[in-house]
């Protein structure tokens, strides 16, 4: 997996729309991979501890935050798709 600085090219090559699309897709992929263990672990913990757990509220916040982040990733993905369509 690449790091975030590797993913976002700051050399100027990203000015090209095709390169920008590709970079956005890589960014989406890496964010997805980063979010996956956060969301899955938090949901797994919810399932294990149940709704009456003393950390239930905290876990709910983690899940909600991860889902919000996932929604943002979805918006970036949509933007990348529109950009790709505009190129064709």
């Amino acid at each position: 997996m690449s790091t975030m600085t590797e993913t976002i090219d700051t050399s100027g090559a990203a000015d090209a729309p095709e390169a920008m699309t590709l970079q956005l897709r890589r960014l989406v992929h890496d964010l997805n991979n980063a979010l996956t263990p956060i969301l899955a672990n938090a949901q797994l913990a919810q399932l294990i501890l149940g709704p009456d757990s003393s950390v239930s509220a905290e876990l709910d916040d983690v899940v909600a935050g991860a889902k919000r982040a996932n929604a943002i990733v979805g918006e970036i993905r949509t933007a990348a798709t529109r950009l790709a369509e505009a190129q064709t």
Binding site: V28, N33, I38, L39, A40, Q43
Partner: protein
Amino acid sequence: MTAALQGARQSAMGDLTDAPVLVVDDDKNVGKVLTRILQRAGFTDVSVETDPRAAVERCKHRDFDAILLDLHMPEVDGFEVMDMLAQGRGSEDYSPILVLTGDLRVDVKERALASGARDFVEKPFEPTEVVARLRNLVETRRMHRRLRSFNTALAVRVADRTAEVVAAKLEVLERLARAGEYRDDLTGMHAQRVGRLSGLLARELRIDHERAVMIEQAAPLHDIGKIGVPDAILLKGGALTEEEVVTIRRHTFMGAAILSGSRLDLMQTAERIALTHHEHWNGRGYPQGLKEDEIPLEGRIVSVADAFDSMTNDRPYRRACSAERAVTEILHWRGTQFAPDVVDALCQLHMSGLLEPSPRREERVADAMATAS
């Protein structure tokens, strides 16, 4: 374990938790969380591989019930992994691949399905969904395997039963042929020898294997019509009267009538043989006076085989002659009584030593048949 993750233990295919599962994802944190989820669900045999090539190698040595495969990996992606796995898989094998991806565009899904993916889980995934989809995949694969095993067993049973039916059919034919020969050949061996020689001649004539076998099996019935010939005529020692000759010649019609009306190719072949094995190449045979190609090939073959066997074995009214003498005699009637190509085939068999009576003859005949088939 939570109730929501207990699906692996509640399947129509029994407990699925012993299913070997392989997770292939270059992100080790994804592998870790998946292992944790699956173990919490009861799965006891979960392996993780971050190197796709190593995963393919693993699959060569182990039969996984499910492979959870990331699509987007550096160097070797999930599509290439599926292609490599497909190369090592039989066409009837069920590909147990569950794709993990954040990229669920239609073209990506179509390509993945074409490459062997069975289902998808979108990243980031929910634990209950992963377990449910994995359970479905394992269950389907086990059903597929059970069906294949059942089909294999069924094929073996069908083959056994078919062999029994074929053996029963041949035994009935042999006994029927023996009934036709019973009064003038108590051993019934004439019919069997004619069958065997007819098979050899057919193979020598390069007739296709299936038809040659059919001729060999049908030929012993050539004289089945003799059942209808009275003893007084069939077993008469002296010369036959004109009327008796007519009666004895009628055995061709009677044989064909006995065998007629069958839907089986074998019986239809036997019917043609019974009717035409006394026809002559020049049209002077009986019962219909057919000539040359009007006489079915089977009839032309059995005509030669019958004559050869009659001459080379003792009869009530004369002693057997040598194979050499019989071949010379038949050669004399080449193109008049007998079909030229069948006589040539007989000569070829004679030159190959397949007609001479010797202790090793049976062996050579068996070898020739094995080679021809």
